[in-house]
Amino acid sequence: MDFNDLMPLLSFWIGQIGDLGLDLLWRFIHIVVSLWHIVSGIFEAILSNAISLGLIQKYSAIDIEKLRCLAVVVDIEVARDVSKVIDLLQWLKTIGVKQVGLFDSQGLLKKSKDMILEMVPGSMLLQETGEKDISPDRKGIIDIEFISSSDNKEAVVKAANILLEKHLKSNNHPEKDEEGDNVFTESHLNEALRVVGENVRVPDLMLVYGPVRSHLGFPAWRLRYTEIVHMGSLKYMRYGSLLKAIHKFTGVRQNYGV
């Protein structure tokens, strides 16, 4: 075997060794990031336990008035464990949260709404109260809204059909049309969503419980300026972490793009 035959073989082996080294390197990047997450998780656990025990003063007084509407997104795998959801709602009520929108993509919590409302003292279904009843004097009351994926894109399609019919009517009878050509504005879609029975209130804060850091199909129209916080697994939820997330939200100052 002469030198010319050896060269391609050598190049091949050098390439293989290089690839193996890079593979090992990429695995180690993953190991380092995993270790970082483990250490952060341990630190978080210690901190939230300290908060739960009232050892950290700044979390003992929260300006809850700033949090007018809270959304809680629950992964479907954990939505089946309604007892955890009930515990969470009781904690939220203790903190002083007045309105909560509970979301899971499949509507499992909607199916259990009667049980949830019964098990959480002082809870009322949001539709029964309406927005005008939400006042600071209603102490100890928590309004709960149950939301699923059908309230997202499906609802927008229904609302779009309403606007569409309005648009077609205004084209057929221009003399009767007071609004002019444009029925496709945000306020019109808001109104159409209300007509199909949807709440258009934008949550101030969204807590996501589950393995995925995603809002999992929460009504898109309502998400514009919502703060989104991933809380981890509902199974291992901690009161201290909840307090910390809400406290952090009360310190956020939004400029709304301006």
């Binding site: 606007l163 995603s214 998400l223 703060e227």
Partner: protein, 297 residues
């Protein structure tokens, strides 16, 4: 011999990798670029396997790359304030970061990169800042058109466009026309974009089609709205990963409809400082999400 080399590379990695996360700007750009090229090769190998066999093992999930990444470019003004610079200098630094790293993203195997550069709400900023931003977009489209053409990057601009200067609109049209046939790499610039407006214009577009008899009212459904959204210009309209820089944890009216199952990654780094190490961290994080929770929700 092979094992000795592997051991040597492993020790090198143990020393060098922590540096990636300690120092913002690693001093081994060539080294990182090698990793990026390797990831791209591995990712395409595993994506092919998944398409062929419909399954992917743990090892494969590690190599999976997002096809569409969205980035909310936040923090230019704070970056400038921290350094005692003018706001315009912060925006210029942000634009340099876009141009420096766009090609790295495509080298990693990302097909579509969407950048939220200017929202509809941003028109409310001081006139001086807005005028500067419009001029900067114009300057960069002009100067980088040849670059994107050379590297076969398709450029699309999504947004309202009603308040933009005519000169900028003309340039946008020129760049889009010049690059419309490229497929492998797609850069979407969201200028004067609003997620709510995107949904409304999709509804309006369907209304026009119904009025013209092209479709029936009863046929309108979610997938029809999907096709009318501005992101329908992309082969992958829904982002797999959405990154927001500067520590804010909201999507601020970006891709509201499209982000239902998008992984959300919030980085504390200000946009002009978002470099290779931060990209690697975001992508590693994304791959870990896939590895642990690969089940479909």
């Amino acid at each position: 011999m092979l094992s000795l080399v592997s051991i040597f590379l492993t020790c090198l990695a143990l020393i060098l990798i922590p540096c990636l996360f300690i120092f913002r700007r690693p001093s081994f750009p060539l080294f990182l670029k090698k990793i990026i090229i390797f990831i791209n090769t591995t990712a395409s190998q595993y994506n092919d396997e998944e398409e062929r066999y419909g399954t992917i093992g743990e090892k494969g999930k590690r190599g999976r790359m997002p096809k569409h990444v969205g980035i909310i470019l936040d923090g230019n003004r704070r970056w400038a304030n921290k350094r005692g610079l003018r706001v315009s200098e912060g925006h210029e630094a942000g634009a340099r970061t876009v141009l420096e790293h766009a090609m790295d993203c495509f080298a990693m195997g990302i097909n579509t990169l969407s950048l939220f550069a200017f929202s509809t709400e941003n028109w409310g900023r001081p006139d001086g800042e807005v005028n500067f931003l419009m001029a900067m977009f114009e300057k960069n489209f002009k100067s980088e058109m040849a670059y994107f053409d050379r590297y076969k990057v398709k450029i699309s601009v999504i947004g309202k466009r009603t308040n933009m200067p005519q000169s900028l609109l003309g340039l946008i049209h020129e760049v889009e026309e010049a690059t419309k046939n490229y497929k492998e790499k797609h850069l979407i610039m969201a200028l004067d974009y609003s997620g709510r407006f995107d949904i409304l214009q999709a509804c309006k577009s369907l209304a026009e089609k119904t009025k013209n008899g092209l479709i029936q009212v009863e046929d309108i459904n979610e997938s029809m709205i999907d096709k009318e959204l501005m992101t329908s210009c992309s082969e992958y309209p829904n982002p797999d990963l959405l990154i927001r820089t500067s520590g804010e944890q909201r999507i601020s009216n970006f891709f509201l409809w499209q982000s239902a199952y998008t992984e959300l990654y919030f980085s504390n780094v200000l946009w002009p400082d978002f470099g290779e190490a931060e990209y690697l961290k975001a992508l590693t994080w994304y791959q870990q999400r896939q590895r642990r929770f690969g089940r479909r929700v």
